[in-house]
Amino acid sequence: MHFALTEEQQMIADTTRAFVENELYPHEAEIERSGHLPMELIRELQAKAMAAGLYAANMPEAVGGAGLDSLSWLLYEKELGRANYALHWTCVARPSNILLAGTDEQKEKYLFPCIRGETWDCLAMTEPGAGSDLRGMKATARFDGGDFVLNGTKHFISHADIADFAIVFMATGEEETPRGPKKLITAFFVDKGTPGFTVRDGYRNVSHRGYTNSVLDFDDCRLPKSAVLGEVHKGFQVANDWLGATRLQVAATCLGRADRALSHAIAYAAERRQFGQQIGKFQGVSFKLADMAMELKAANLLTWDAAWKFDQGTVTEADMSMAKLKATEVLAMIADEAIQIHGGMGLMDELPLERIWRDARVERIWEGTSEIQRHIISRELLRAVGG
């Protein structure tokens, strides 16, 4: 067992970090203020990210990505994750891995333009009536004369406003299971502008300013069979095969922001003086720092462990859930304590802490709530003994 990064991994982290600090940080305050990412800025930063080979670097080399192993990929995600989410997600986009599951034609139409920075994707599963319980979804795709006809509503769909197409999961049938009837699900590519498909503004929310969510309405939206991603009724298999590691992506981006908040807290504790000494000399402050650093290290190790196992093919669902759960909860704790150490100044938008604190909130909800992660972890424990 050895825990050192390779030279390349260190360089990947360093170069991504330098890019994030020099090119993304300067724009954060404005986006936090306006909640909007202007297209000229997106184009400018996209071009720089491409020159540095950072754009879509999650993708395999054969399709124009960087061909990174999982640990390198997550080191890159961690550094990107330091910055405002809308900025890094849009300007240094990582197209969804699920696009790799498409046919050659689908890759030509959807994957390659995303990698070239010409288009953006979005992924729609959640519905007003179906969040954690996706197999209880109501939106349907009905087979009709060789076509599919889509009806229903999806909500909370991230960056669907800027996306050029959506990968949409629809119920195409039902099967009996020991736990009652469950929906059979199929994934579709739906282009913006397809008749019967509309995207409207979603909700304003506390986390990730500038990173929008939308409501997707399907009203007799007719799609050819060629719009199916993967196989009919096998939408969940495609998702499981290609989206498993997104939990690790969430974990890694959280680790980046947690590290940023912790660095601020350490620097401030060494600099701020009250009662005639550095506040870091009070154990009430210094012991917080010790716990923050220890928890962050634990979260890092859980994530790197899962990343390494992912490449060995030995990762379990529980490994990935633990990494996501720990990283998101540690981020929340560190953001909160970093503010505490800053006193009143921690709440002011002069520092990135108030926003790291706000941004931390969504991480325990999306990509599977903390409760769902605990469910996955405990299920694996109990199944092993026949539970």
Binding site: E8, I12, T15, T16, A51, G53, L54, E61
Partner: protein, 252 residues
Amino acid sequence: MKVLVPVKRVIDYNVKVRVKADGSGVDLANVKMSMNPFDEIAVEEAIRLKEAGKAEEVVAVSIGVKQAQETLRTALAMGADRAILVVAADDVHTDIEPLAVAKILAKVVEEEQPGLVLAGKQAIDNDMNATGQMLSALLGWSQATFASDVDIEGDSAKVTREVDGGLQTISVKMPTIVTVDLRLNEPRYASLPNIMKAKKKPLDEKTAADYGVDVTPRLEIVKTDEPEARQAGEIVPDVDTLVAKLKEKGVV
């Protein structure tokens, strides 16, 4: 034309430097190390010369501890074609003095026959500002220091120098040694694909002994001190008091 770029591994410019308890130098144990920022500018300039068709090959060379290999990989990831590591010390705290570095570089130049040596004007760790000049003397080559613009035209180079009074433009005969200043260019990011490729680029490992150069230090470091902590300021009520105070302290 081949361009040789010496690069030094130094304490990262973001690191808050700590002096060792015995005052013998700066503590480098478990401290982030990076390429000397001026050398990064030199690497960038060399790559630009290659991209402009004025150079065929960029060779990076580093003299120091084995870990300087990381610095060379960064140069390779930025776009240098190959690298030479000259191991001259075991302990990360051993600094190879400019004359020894220049002597080794002179041997490397003899072997490699570059048309141009692009070096940083100084290393940010000891601020010696001497290696390029010494190398020029050892080789009998022309030199152009503190460059903020470099234009190679056949067998001469027009170099703009940042001097105290402003900018000075000189013309030097090739082959030459140029030491670069801060404003010459903005170094690129080592791109992800180039980082992956850097692993496959050749990196030769030599020792100071291979070149027959004695690297024993000639300088004795008597003491290293932390910079004096800044004193707390004082707010004065008006300009008259300010002027009076300054006079009192003898600064005006």
